[in-house]
């Protein structure tokens, strides 16, 4: 029983991590139709930002070290968002009408960012130490729920909430959806498409930064950090039904729980195969994802 509960928690936790990684894509890809292959590198940027901040705190404010991580979250967001903004202004803005080209161009960006990180921080992994208060876990009925995982879970909930409000409750979110759907018409109505584009892309990249920051708690921080997550992230956004935030959330959590349970009864390798095979089957059944809908237009 407790094993099942524990695995359920592990599944939700994995799901929340996958979701966090995919949230930024839910905007840049789901809403803006940019297949951003450099998304993983924005995650990396978030992780390295956390690392740098840690170094600064260790050297300058060793007494306040416990708080650095809380600061790292917004800073990672801002740094990634800023680099995202630069990328939007110089590259992405030429690609809105050609999504498959966006895949190729951002692939180039990803190569560049990886090597740049390698040149700046060196090829080997660096370590980020979690603040003391995130160590250990909550013991309940003979099970341990690591604080880090609980913290990430909370962070994901917050991010989702933020995104939800932004997309569905603000003018800015509505403008963004309008611009994606019909750029020309949106501009004819007075929407500043350039501003909307940059804002949206920056937010998407910033979310990747947050993901990177959280991932430092769990895994390695190196130039290729993002590559491990990129395929899963796309998978989730598509599985949820491109552009449907609710679907993305559902897809992330389901995928997490499902692969955790399959892995428990088989092995990680087999689980990976089964999970992806199931994704293929699932799409046969729901060709436009969890929350995808049929549209009236012909094509």
């Amino acid at each position: 029983m407790s094993v099942i509960l524990m695995q359920l928690f592990n599944g939700i936790s994995l799901g929340s991590i996958l979701l966090l990684v995919a949230l930024g894509l839910a905007i840049t890809f789901g809403q803006m139709n940019i297949i951003n292959m450099a998304h993983g590198e924005f995650i990396m940027i978030g992780a390295y930002t956390t690392y740098v901040l840690q170094q600064v705190f260790q050297q300058q404010f060793p007494d306040a070290f416990g708080t650095y991580f809380l600061l790292a979250i917004p800073v990672a967001f801002l740094v990634a968002a800023f680099i995202g903004l630069l990328m939007e202004k110089t590259i992405v803005k030429f690609l809105y009408e050609r999504p498959s080209d966006s895949l190729l161009a951002t692939w180039g960006v990803s190569l560049i960012l990886q090597q740049t990180a390698r040149s700046i921080f060196g090829a080997p992994n660096v370590a980020v130490a979690a603040p003391e208060w995130l160590n250990g876990g909550l013991s309940l009925a003979g099970m341990t729920f690591p604080y880090k995982r609980l913290f990430i879970l909370g962070l994901v909930l917050l991010s989702v909430l933020f995104l939800f409000i932004y997309l569905y409750r603000t003018n800015s979110g509505r403008r963004m959806k309008a611009v994606t759907m019909n750029r020309e018409m949106a501009s004819c109505l007075g929407v500043s498409t350039r501003k909307v584009d940059s804002t949206a892309f920056a937010i998407g990249s910033g979310l990747a930064g947050i993901a990177g920051c959280s991932l430092t708690l769990l895994g390695s921080i190196g130039p290729t950090l993002g590559t491990a997550y990129i395929v899963d992230a796309f998978m989730i956004v598509v599985l949820g039904g491109v552009g449907k935030l609710k679907g993305t959330i559902l897809a992330g959590v389901m995928l997490g729980i499902f692969s955790t349970f399959v892995e428990f009864s088989t092995s990680a390798t087999i689980a990976k195969m089964i999970v992806f095979a199931v994704i293929i089957l699932f799409l046969q059944w729901k060709p436009t994802g969890f929350a995808g809908v049929r549209v009236r237009a012909l094509d």
């Binding site: 690609l95 161009a105 560049i112 090597q115 598509v238 599985l239 491109v242 095979a277």
Partner: protein
């Protein structure tokens, strides 16, 4: 008419260049070029599938890999005097697994190298396209297929060689692979294969079938209401491009001497799309040339700047995609138009002229 000749001339120059190239290259460079020609074959298939039909496959590495593995199994058996490949022995296997036994026959191996990818593509294509899975949803499925296949090949290392893949071959049809005579023959076989594939593909695009492909890209639902069932067409073109990739795999393994699961992973699969994009996905010749040029650039850059070549390569992708939306072929078109315009100046269209009057 002139247009037709011009196309012919481009093809002529291209193949003339390929035919004489070995005379000006060292063995090593000629070997590289041969490898790039294999990539060219893949790119042609991608041009048909993506450029013409609008189906973006991010999983062609799998088909290439399957073709390559089929050929490699034959070569590996030829290189295993004990009858059992070395890596199987390390894994404690004492009897050749059944699927391997069939690959003792080279004809079977080569046939399988083309048929296995196209049948798998046909199957995946059939269920996916029948269920009207399109666009990114298809691309993601093709990527999932990559993950499943690569994981399978790595996981089943007793029969696949695992991460290391298959390598260390000596002979093909009892002829040493490393003979320079063998190499030369293989090179020209590859050039000829590329020629056949390009001619076939070019021909296809000029037929009514080719127009249906474009119609599928523009709007396959509309096509349904004209009485076509796009499923069969999409399956066919997907399987055809998979067959091309499989064939490329055969020639690749013969000349490069190694195949590993890496080569069918996500990265090579995306790169394959890049080759076509850089050359010009709407042009058969462009795609083939794109594969050759992109990989030449990659080799050149990585040799000259082993530390930073990925930055330069990334920048190259970026520039080409941003400024040449139709790739190098598009650039050629543009230049041609520039010249034509000089003669014609600005055209003033008498709008409405052509209407019912």
């Amino acid at each position: 008419m002139i247009k037709k000749y011009r196309q012919g001339a481009y093809y002529g120059i291209f193949f003339l260049f390929l035919s004489v190239a070995p005379f000006f290259l060292t063995d090593f460079r000629a070997g590289l070029l041969a490898k790039f020609l294999c990539y060219g074959i893949i790119a042609v298939g991608i041009s048909l599938l993506w450029g013409y039909t609008g189906i973006l496959s991010l999983g062609h590495g799998v088909f290439f890999g399957l073709g390559a593995y089929c050929m490699a199994m034959y070569l590996k058996l030829e290189a295993s005097p004990s009858g059992i490949p070395d890596f199987m022995e390390w894994n404690g296997i004492t009897e050749l697994p059944f699927i391997w036994t069939m690959f003792k026959n080279p004809v079977f191996a080569i046939a399988a190298a083309v048929l296995v990818p196209s049948l798998i593509a046909a199957f995946i294509g059939y269920v996916t396209f029948k269920n009207r899975i399109k666009g990114v949803f298809f691309s993601i499925i093709s990527q999932a297929v990559v993950v499943v296949t690569v994981t399978l090949f790595i996981g089943a290392q007793q029969i696949t060689g695992g991460t290391s893949g298959l390598t260390n071959f000596f002979t093909v049809f009892q002829v040493p692979l490393t003979d320079s005579g063998t190499k030369t023959i293989l090179y020209y076989v590859t050039v000829f294969t590329l020629f056949l594939i390009m001619a076939l593909s070019f021909g296809l695009t000029k037929t009514r079938f080719g127009k249906i492909l474009i119609a599928i890209r523009d709007g396959e639902n509309r096509l349904r209401f004209l009485g076509y069932n796009p499923t069969g067409y999409k399956v066919f073109i997907y399987a055809l491009s998979a067959a091309f990739a499989g064939l490329a795999g055969v020639l690749f393994v013969l000349q490069v001497g190694i195949i590993s699961p890496e080569m069918m992973g996500i990265i090579p699969s995306v790169e394959m799309v890049l080759w076509a994009a850089i050359g010009g996905r709407f042009s058969i010749l462009g795609a083939a040339a794109g594969a050759i040029l992109t990989n030449s650039a990659k080799s050149y850059l990585s040799e000259s700047y082993p530390e930073f070549w990925t930055i330069f390569l990334g920048a190259l992708f970026l520039v080409v995609v941003l400024y040449l939306p139709n790739g190098l072929a598009g650039l050629v078109e543009k230049v041609k138009l520039r010249f034509a315009k000089k003669e014609k100046k600005e055209e003033v269209k008498h709008a409405g002229d052509s209407l019912v009057s």
